[in-house]
Every structure is written in structure tokens, then in C-alpha cells.
């Protein structure tokens, strides 16, 4: 039987705990990398100190002692760093980063409730070694002596005394609305907490409670050595209480940075015990933002989707009513209401979309650490430049792009950037640069991963593909350079000279492409031998609502995502050429393979159209094009993508369904699937 861990938090709070600790851990990770690069940076050190401190508090509050102990010793080391009593060094940053890794696993235990097997004791001892040797260590020369600045930061610095005396518990609770004597209950709480320690503040104040004012919400700050469990027990016998929340803090709320810098030591000392009221009011300001679950946002988005559908339906109904009936007062009132509803729906859709947007930073900030570690393991020097991390993207897309980006960055470190000697020999700086940049472009965002490494040699890719039997020698010879480079997206191809543990197993690039395609995005590669390689990922801003071109096929309506439509053509039958199994038409100086959708979907041939011009929708997927032959075009609409359900399952050429304005169901065409099919058909010549 595996051991189950117990923590002092409600199951509902697990997710919040996970998210908050993840944020703090991220801060630590990032900050440590920054100081490794820049050396002693008081502001950054203060930030990571604070992160470690917050983590200690959260871990302590739920009774995760190993995590609290580890963060405590990290905090002690960081305090020394901040005071300049310890110098930033690579071994120290490495140690702190290992501690961060351990923290990640320890934090996960709260969700899994199974021991992660992490024993922080070794790390704690190593960290403590730094604090002990500090006494003997001379002040590092690289750190300017800033006694005033250090003192000025004094008030923010918790006294690192192991005693629990300075600990303050903040107890907040609600008293039931139907309590017959809410003030008496509040007084009971105050009296009970007085047994635990000194009451520093309460809101409402004790006087108000004594006056007998009805109290339904009570917040008390008490200096106590008791833990949450004991406090909770102390309150357990009091009736009518609900939602009792206990948190601990050992320091004051953060003061604005500039204010801190200007504070003199004396003022600082005076301010070191801020009024409890101020403390409570600082906490209040954090109530301006609300954490909400992704599920709730998804639900909101679905509801908005329904509204969009209904708006379309109303618009359509109104226009058919107007055709039938004479224009009346009611009809124009209806028109007004619909148009108002329509604009509100648009706005609501926009707002809900925005609420679901996250800056790219959320994915990007994982990478500096990863690239650093990879480069070190590979014996390479790499700088990761990040740009446009503020670009926002729907969280459903954000979640899905982390993996493809990780593959691309690994590839850049592993295969792109050369070892320092090789770079020097090529007359390049020893340190390679990888640029990770995001930017928005209309309804898409584009993410670029560019390295200044050796580039991809089309010859090598060609050879490798032939050797691995992926294509024939003749076919390889016929490929243009850029087509040859595109072979890297084929499953089973890897040009790495040696296999490393992170990439080069021949999985990766094909996964990148298929992941991005699943998001209705594209990936493009350009490379210059000796100069570097650039990957460009283009992704839709959201996956939930999609503008489409509606087409007609044997009486049925089908949707083609507008993002993949390049052009709509009328093609005369004599300009269609047969090549082996497929048909092509000359278009924009290239052969556009045609796919007759009726045929693809096993529908009857349209005899009436023989000899007439056909409607062809030219679609693009990545660098590939195909022409979809349809019966006719019906116009554009915004649709909400819906699943066809398990009963139907995967159907070739169809990715889902949508409800149109008239209430009927239209099927959404799977453009990537069809384009691939068209190419396969024509490639067999």
C-alpha cells in the first residue's frame, strides 16, 4: 500500500495551491537564471527572496513540513545574497535550481497526495553550509558595499528567528445570516482567539462587536504560535460559523519599491510594525482580481457560442419574415432588437475571448531554464532571446503549443547551434543565439524560433531520407531545396550525427507539425547553411469560434475554415488535366491537385454539371495547396465548432459539425486531411 499524504487544505483549494506555488516557483526559476547572468541584482534577489518566502508560508499553512523546511533554508541563503554577504556563483545557482526542482516535486505531492520520494534534507544541508561558511567568508569583491541600501530593505526582511512568536495568523470567517446573535458569535471568536495569543486587529473592531452590531464577516489577525489545526479546533465549538480560513504571515505586506529605497533605517525601524488595519486593507486590494477555473471559462465560451448561433438564426429568420410580410412596426422593432442583441453578442464574445487569453509568457517562461540546461549538457554556449512574450493567445492554444515549441528549441540547441570551437572556426561568436519571438498578425499569432547555427543542409536531409527508405533516390533528386528541407517533417527522419537524450531520435519534427496542424496552424521552415534556421508557427487566436466559407454539396452544406481558403475559382472542364489517378489544374504557375468532394465523400457524381465550369476552392495547408471541387458557394459565416460525438467517431475528411443560422447542421471539412490526400494521389505519377 502506498502511503497517502495528508495536508491541511480543502480539496477545492488544491488547484489554487498548485497554481500559486507554480507561479512562485516560476519566479524562482526565472530570477535565479537572471542573477546567474547579471550577478548581484538587488531587485531580482528581492523578488526571488519573496517568492521563496511566500512558498514557505503556503507550505507551512497546509502543514507540508519538508517543503517549508526546504524553502526556509533557501530563504536564508537568499537573504545572505541580498545583503551581499554571499556572492552569486554558478555552483550556488545550481544548488538553488536543484532546490527549485525539488520544490516542484514537493508541491505536486499536494495534488497527488503520494510521496514524491524527494528528501530535501541533503539540499537543506548543502544550503546550510553556505549560511555557516558566510561567517568566515569575506565580502565578495564583485558586490559593491551598500550598507544603507541593505538597511533600507530592513523592514521587508523577516527576522529569521526560528521562534514562532512573530508569526501571525489571519483568521477570516463568516457568521451565518440566520444566526440569532451574530455579534455574540463574533465576540466568542475573539475570546477564543485571545487564548491563542495576542489579537492584533479585527475587522469589525472589538468595540463595534461589543456594541452588538450584527457581524456576518469577521477577520482577525492574531500573533500566535498555534498552528492552523489548533486554531481551527479552538473555533470548532462555536456555532453558526462558516468558511473559516486561516493563513499565516511572518512579514508585512510588501511596500512599493521606490518607497523602500527612500526609507531611512530609522523610519524603516518605525515602520516595521505597520498598523494591522493597513495590513488588512492591503489584502483587500488583492480582491480586485478573481481566480476562476478554466472549466467555467470554457462553459462561458460555449454559452457565447450558442448565442452567436442564435444571433445568426435570428438574423436569418428576420430576413425571411421581411420577405414574406409587409414591413410593419413590429418587424422593425424586431429588427432593432436583433441588431442590438447582435452587437451585444459580438461584444460579449470579444470579452469572454479576452478573459480566456493569456500572454505567451506563460509558455515562454519555461524555456530559459530548459535551454540553459540543454546547452550545458551539450557543451554549448547559448543565449535565448525572448521577444513579444506579452502577445496574448487563447489558453486552449497556449496549452497546446508548449510541446511543439519545446521540440523546436531542443532541436535548435542540439542540431542548430554548433559547439564553441566549430563556431569560432566559422568566424562566428562562440555563444550562439536562439530567438523566441511572438507577434500577432490579424486573427493569427506567429511564433518564431530562430537560431544562428549551422542551418540545415538539404543534401544531408535528402541523403538521410533515402538511406532510411523514406523516399526513392529518384524522388529525392527531383525535390527542390525547400522541398528537401521539408522532409525533416517526415516521421522517422533525423539528421543528427549523434543521438542525444533529448532529441535526435527521429521523433519530434513530425510531431511538431502534426500538433500545430491539429490547432489549425501551420509551421514553416527557412534555413541558410552556416547562417541558421528559422521556424515560423502560425496559430489561430482561438479554437472555439471559426469563420468559414459555406459550400454546397449534393444539397448538403459544408464548412471550409476561412483561414485555409486562398481563392475561389471557376474552372472550365477543358482546363482540368488528368494525371494518373488524380486531376490537376494550372493555377498561379503551379499544378493544383483537385479533389472532387462528392467523390471523397462517396456521394453521387453530379451528371448535370458535366461540361460546365466547376467551383473550386483553393485551400492551403502549410506549403501545400489543393483545389476542392464543390457544387456551389453559399457565403461566409462564423461558426461554433462542435463534436459529432462518439457514435460517429472519426470520419475521413470531416472534423466536426456546426449549427447554422437556419438551425440545420453543417459539417466542417478537414482541410489538412484532404490536402494530404490530394498530394498523395498526385504524387504517384
Amino acid at each position: 500500500m502506498a502511503e497517502t499524504l495528508q495536508f491541511d487544505l480543502h480539496p477545492d483549494e488544491v488547484e489554487v495551491f498548485a497554481q500559486e506555488t507554480a507561479e512562485q516557483i516560476q519566479q524562482l526559476d526565472q530570477g535565479l537564471l537572471t542573477i546567474e547572468e547579471t550577478g548581484h541584482d538587488p531587485e531580482v534577489i528581492q523578488r526571488i527572496f519573496r517568492a521563496a518566502h511566500t512558498l514557505k508560508g503556503s507550505a507551512g499553512a497546509i502543514g507540508h513540513h519538508r517543503m517549508a523546511n526546504l524553502t526556509h533554508s533557501m530563504e536564508t541563503v537568499l537573504a545572505l545574497l541580498r545583503e551581499g554577504r554571499l556572492a552569486v556563483s554558478t555552483p550556488l545557482v545550481d544548488l538553488l535550481l536543484s532546490a527549485v526542482d525539488a520544490l516542484k516535486l514537493l508541491a505536486q505531492e499536494v495534488a497527488t497526495r503520494t510521496p514524491s520520494g524527494v528528501d530535501p534534507e541533503g539540499l537543506i544541508q548543502q544550503l546550510q553550509a553556505y549560511t555557516v561558511s558566510d561567517e568566515a567568508a569575506a565580502r565578495p569583491a564583485s558586490v559593491p558595499a551598500e550598507p544603507v541600501a541593505a538597511a533600507a530593505e530592513g523592514p521587508e526582511e523577516p527576522k529569521e528567528t526560528p521562534s514562532q512568536e512573530g508569526r501571525q495568523a489571519r483568521v477570516s470567517l463568516q457568521i451565518a445570516r440566520d444566526s440569532f446573535a451574530p455579534a455574540a458569535r463574533a465576540l466568542q471568536v475573539l475570546l477564543a482567539l485571545e487564548e491563542a495569543g495576542e489579537i492584533i486587529a479585527s475587522q469589525p473592531a472589538r468595540e463595534a462587536i461589543l456594541r452588538g452590531e450584527a457581524v456576518y464577516q469577521l477577520e482577525v489577525v492574531v500573533a500566535t504560535s498555534w498552528d492552523a489545526e489548533r486554531l481551527r479546533k479552538q473555533l470548532a465549538h462555536i456555532g453558526d460559523l462558516a468558511n473559516v480560513q486561516i493563513s499565516f504571515r511572518e512579514e508585512q505586506a510588501p511596500a512599493p519599491a521606490e518607497a523602500t529605497a527612500r526609507t531611512t533605517a530609522a523610519e524603516a525601524a518605525a515602520a516595521s510594525r505597520p498598523s494591522p488595519a493597513a495590513r488588512l486593507s492591503v489584502d483587500k486590494s488583492s480582491l480586485r482580481t478573481v481566480r476562476t477555473s478554466v472549466e467555467r471559462l470554457d462553459k462561458l465560451m460555449n454559452l457565447v457560442g450558442e448565442l452567436v448561433t442564435d444571433r445568426n438564426r435570428l438574423l436569418q429568420t428576420h430576413s425571411s419574415l421581411r420577405q414574406r410580410a409587409e414591413d410593419s412596426e413590429h418587424l422593425s422593432a424586431l429588427a432593432q432588437a436583433i441588431s442590438h442583441l447582435a452587437s451585444i453578442t459580438d461584444e460579449l464574445q470579444e470579452e469572454v475571448m479576452r478573459a480566456r487569453m493569456l500572454p505567451l509568457e506563460n509558455v515562454f517562461n519555461k524555456f530559459p531554464r530548459m535551454v540553459r540546461d540543454l546547452a550545458r549538457d551539450a557543451g554549448k554556449q547559448v543565449v535565448l532571446q525572448i521577444e513579444g512574450q506579452e502577445t496574448e493567445l487563447d489558453r486552449s492554444v497556449i496549452e497546446e503549443i508548449a510541446d511543439p515549441l519545446m521540440h523546436l528549441l531542443r532541436n535548435a540547441v542540439d542540431h542548430g547551434i554548433e559547439p564553441p570551437e566549430e563556431r569560432r572556426a566559422a568566424g562566428k561568436p562562440e555563444t550562439g543565439t536562439i530567438r523566441l519571438a511572438g507577434r500577432s498578425e490579424g486573427s493569427h499569432i506567429v511564433i518564431t524560433v530562430a537560431d544562428d547555427g549551422r542551418g540545415i543542409d538539404p543534401e544531408k536531409v535528402r541523403r538521410s531520407a533515402v538511406e532510411k527508405g523514406l523516399i526513392s533516390e529518384e524522388a529525392a533528386a527531383r525535390l527542390t531545396e525547400s522541398e528537401a528541407i521539408d522532409l525533416i517533417f517526415m516521421p522517422g527522419l533525423s539528421t543528427a550525427k549523434k543521438v542525444t537524450d533529448v532529441s535526435g531520435r527521429g521523433v519530434g519534427m513530425d510531431v511538431v507539425r502534426s500538433n500545430v496542424e491539429r490547432l489549425r496552424g501551420t509551421v514553416k521552415v527557412t534555413t541558410m547553411p552556416g547562417k541558421g534556421t528559422t521556424f515560423e508557427l502560425s496559430l489561430p487566436l482561438t479554437l472555439a469560434i471559426m469563420p468559414v466559407l459555406l459550400v454546397n454539396l449534393q444539397g448538403g452544406t459544408y464548412c471550409i475554415p476561412l483561414s485555409s481558403v486562398v481563392e475561389v475559382l471557376q474552372v472550365e472542364s477543358q482546363s482540368i488535366h488528368r494525371v494518373d489517378r488524380g486531376e490537376v489544374v494550372l493555377w498561379r504557375d503551379r499544378l493544383l491537385p483537385l479533389l472532387r468532394l462528392r467523390q471523397c465523400f462517396g456521394l453521387a457524381e453530379d451528371g448535370a454539371r458535366n461540361g460546365h465550369a466547376s467551383s473550386v476552392v483553393a485551400v492551403r495547408w502549410g506549403d501545400e495547396y489543393a483545389g476542392l471541387v464543390v457544387d456551389g458557394l453559399l457565403g461566409q459565416q462564423e461558426i461554433v465548432i462542435k463534436n459529432l460525438g462518439k457514435m460517429i467517431g472519426q470520419v475521413a475528411g470531416i472534423t466536426g459539425g456546426a449549427i447554422l443560422g437556419d438551425g440545420s447542421v453543417a459539417l466542417i471539412i478537414d482541410v489538412p486531411g484532404l490536402v494530404k490526400q490530394a498530394i498523395r494521389d498526385v504524387a504517384r505519377l
Binding site: E306, T309, G556, C600, F601, G602, L603, K642, N643, L644, G645, K646, M647, I648, G649, V651, A652, G653, I654, G657, I659, G663, S664, V665, A666, L667
Partner: protein, 154 residues
């Protein structure tokens, strides 16, 4: 309470001259026949999909599912929408006749009857004074992988 326990409520519908019953608890609603969007290359017994108040709902033609001859829809044709886990599925039937309350002891399990195959869509048969109602095992009817002969009385 006790009485309710020993009774079962069925939605009874007609298909090629036989009466079939499904538990009322599984039935979401009963709709008139409506335009069905054909899904090319879907499993053969899936007629297509319909819009049920914003939900795309697959529709199964029970005649096709049971290997019975196809029939043109009539004014009596109905779509019985049943729950399949989280999803809804519409079943096209010739007509819905009634909602019946039958005593549990009127139901004979399939093992008591002579069936040609081990596996059938049959859950049992309800014997009433003048007629027999075939009770369907909906989970099997809705299981794409499951195939059996039509549960028709000999």
C-alpha cells in the same frame, strides 16, 4: 414505494410490426422526424446528425441497425432521443405508441427464451395480456462494435 419498485416504465414504439420498449429513464425526449444531415462515411446505421437545441445529435435508424428493410418516413415516424453516457443519440422508429407501466414479474429475461444467438440486443420480453413487448438493451444497441441479428420474435 414498494409498488413502484416492482414496476418498470417503458416507452413503447413500433418497428416493422413489432413493439419494442426502452426504460423511460433513458429517454430524453421524443421528436417528430426532421431533416437529417447525412455524415458521409459514418457507420452505416448512423443516418446522420440533427440539431437538438444546439446539440449536434447523431441519429441511428433502428431498422438499419436491426437489418430490417428500410421504410420511408411517415407522419408517424418519430425520433426517440436516448441518453448514451454524456451524449444523446436519436433513434428513428416507425411510431411511438405509448408509455407503459409494467410489473417487473411480467418481464422474462432472454435466457428463458429460445434465441438464435448468444448475443442479442434483447434485454427481455414483457408479456402482457394480449401482446408481447421486446425490451431493448440500449447499451448494446448504441455500441458501435456490437453486431447482432434483429431481436424479432419468432
Amino acid at each position: 414505494m414498494k409498488d413502484q419498485m416492482s414496476e418498470e416504465q417503458l416507452v413503447v414504439f413500433e418497428l416493422a410490426g413489432e413493439s419494442y420498449g426502452v426504460e423511460i429513464g433513458r429517454v430524453q425526449e421524443i421528436d417528430r422526424m426532421q431533416a437529417i444531415t447525412v455524415v458521409p462515411q459514418a457507420p452505416p446505421f448512423v443516418e446522420g446528425v440533427i440539431n437538438l437545441r444546439g446539440r449536434i445529435t447523431p441519429v441511428v435508424d433502428l431498422r438499419t441497425r436491426f437489418g430490417l428493410p428500410k421504410a420511408e418516413p411517415t407522419p408517424l415516424t418519430r425520433i426517440v432521443v436516448v441518453k448514451a453516457g454524456e451524449e444523446w443519440v436519436g433513434l428513428v422508429v416507425d411510431a411511438v405508441s405509448e408509455v407503459l407501466r409494467i410489473p417487473v414479474d411480467a418481464i422474462e429475461p432472454p435466457s428463458a427464451m429460445v434465441t438464435t444467438a448468444e448475443s442479442t440486443y434483447l434485454r427481455g420480453i414483457a408479456k402482457l395480456e394480449s401482446r408481447l413487448i421486446i425490451l431493448l438493451d440500449l447499451d448494446r444497441v448504441l455500441d458501435k462494435e456490437f453486431q447482432a441479428a434483429a431481436p424479432v420474435l419468432a
